[in-house]
Amino acid sequence: MQEMLQYLFSGITNGAIYAVIAIGFSMLYNSTDLINFAHGEFVMLGALCMVTFFGTLHLPIVLAILLAIASVAVAGLVFERLAIRSVKNPEPIVLIIITVGASIFLRGIGMILWGKDAHTIASFSSHPPLDIAGAKLLSQSIWIIVILLLTAVGLQLFYKKTLTGKAMEANAISKRAAWIVGIPSKLMIMLAFGLSTAMGGLAGVIIAPITMSSYDMGTMLGLKGFCAAMLGGLGSLWGALIGGFLLGILEAMGVGFVSSGLKDATAFLLLLFILYVKPGGIISSASVKRF
């Protein structure tokens, strides 16, 4: 029981991180129909910026977090302006290669700026781990879950209550219709890119204290976040949350009770399963467009 609870805690922690990454994927997919294969690299940038701002420069924690997220969002905006907007004929395959090229490029930048070594930083707060029925819950895990929930609620309010958020949703539903009522589609896409990469940066920031951050950490995190987004239903905020937690918990249980070799396979087995059975994801309605 105690063991099970411990696995559950680690699953929820990882799940929350997958969920943040998945939200970034979903947001961008919603607005631009684009799957950003470089998304994991933005997570890496977020974590390594945090290492620099918080670990090396010892800035106050809130300032360090904001600076790290802002830097990643700026990188995302530059990427959108230079690489994505220049594409004249945006076919999926062309965009896939461009984002893959961007991911290799960013990994290279990460290696040049931070070297090949793995870095680690202190937890956000120095509370001792909580003891719940014999299982330990790290203070950083609580931070991660709280930040995730605040982000989700904040995004929901942004999309439903603010004019900009509503405009973004309108633009995601139909660019032309949104354009006719005066919503600047280019600006909305830029905003989506900025928000999506900021989410990636946020995921990197919150994961930095509990993992070894290095230039090559992004690929696997990105792919798993993607699996989580597919699992819940690509394009849906709550789907990303459900998918993230489900993936995290199943992965932790798989490692705990079956075999640690199974850890990375879980995500992809789930991905295949959902694609074959219900390609729209868990929370989608019955009819699904498979393109």
């Binding site: 220049s86 076919e91 395959i93 961007a102 960013l106 290279g108 396979a265 295949l272 694609l275 390609p279």
Partner: protein, 319 residues
């Protein structure tokens, strides 16, 4: 015999002559080795080009079939003492069976979803290579794969292996060219342009996509076989997600739906890392930049893109 066929025959004869000339007169064994790798990558690019370029079906997990070919022959020759020439059809057949089973549910998907399905499949096969260490040697790799021999001819020397690989490339090219020029080839292009439209005029799209997927897997497995017996040592890293992406890149950079594009893409992607060593730590940055720039400015690949530019300037000059 029509014009198209004559031109193809001339092309392939010239190609054969070039292979023979290079093979006999190139002295530097290092270049022979690099060219052999280009040959293997050309087979991979050809395999994926049949699926992606002609039939329009994305696969982000093709390294799995490449790996099944390599691990298949490694396991059969080392663990079970098979002759490599018996292991070759066995490895290809297993890749085809896997492709058939995986293809049935996966090829129902399209667009990004197909990309993701194949990606998931590729990752799972790669994890299998890494974790099933009693059979595959695990993360540290599989050593001791025997060299190829055929009677008195040994393929341990670079030159013989060069001829073997490029012989397969030539056969692959001619076979694929014939498929493309046939009724099946037209049906494939119809699927590429519009699957519903193709089905409406009587193309069995489901069946045909599956067949081309299986063919593509078979050629990839052949490349895997050749790779394993060339380097004698394989590890899961050679068949990872990155390897799948490299295959896609070869196809797209070279030019989709072009047999010679496969050769161009494979040559560039094999040579690029060699050239980029000069950039040392900037290697990845430059590699990523090249990918992005080519796709932004020549989204139809180099062969098509350069042809387009040529046509445009010619038209401009005529006016």
């Amino acid at each position: 015999m029509n014009n198209h066929q004559t031109r193809n025959r001339i092309c392939y004869t010239v190609f054969l002559l070039i292979i023979l000339l290079v093979g006999y007169f190139l002295e530097n064994l290092y270049y022979i080795q690099v060219l052999t790798f280009i040959g293997i990558n050309t087979l991979l690019a050809l395999a994926l080009n049949m699926l992606m370029g002609y039939a329009g079906q994305i696969s982000l997990g093709h390294a799995a079939f490449y790996g099944i070919g390599a691990y298949g022959t490694a396991i059969l020759t080392v663990h079970y003492g098979f002759s490599p020439w018996l292991a070759l059809p066995a490895a290809i057949l297993s890749a085809m069976i896997v492709a058939y089973i995986v293809g049935i549910p996966t090829l129902k998907l399209s667009g990004y979803y197909l990309g993701m399905g194949t990606l998931g499949f590729g990752m799972i096969v790669n994890i299998l290579f890494r974790e099933w260490s009693s059979v595959t040697g695990g993360a540290s790799g599989f050593i001791g794969i025997p060299a190829l021999e055929l009677g008195p001819i040994s393929f341990a020397s670079g030159r013989n292996y060069f001829f073997l690989v490029w012989g397969f490339v030539l056969i692959g090219f001619i076979a694929c060219q014939r498929i493309i020029d046939s009724r099946i080839g037209r049906a494939l292009r119809a699927i590429h342009d519009g699957e519903n439209a193709a089905a409406a005029v009587g193309v069995d799209t489901r069946q045909l996509k599956l067949q081309i997927f299986v063919l593509s897997a078979a050629i990839s497995a052949l490349a895997g076989f050749l790779y394993a017996h060339l380097v004698y040592f394989i590890s899961p890293g050679s068949f990872s997600f990155i390897a799948s992406i490299r295959m896609v890149t070869m196809v797209v950079i070279g030019g989709m739906a072009s047999i010679w594009g496969a050769l161009l893409g494979a040559s560039l992607l094999t040579l690029l890392p060699e050239w980029l060593h000069a950039f040392s730590e900037f290697e990845m940055v430059v590699y990523g930049l090249i990918l992005m720039v080519v796709m932004i400015f020549l989204p139809r690949g180099l062969t098509r893109g350069l042809l387009d530019i040529y046509e445009r300037t010619r038209k401009k000059n005529e006016h």
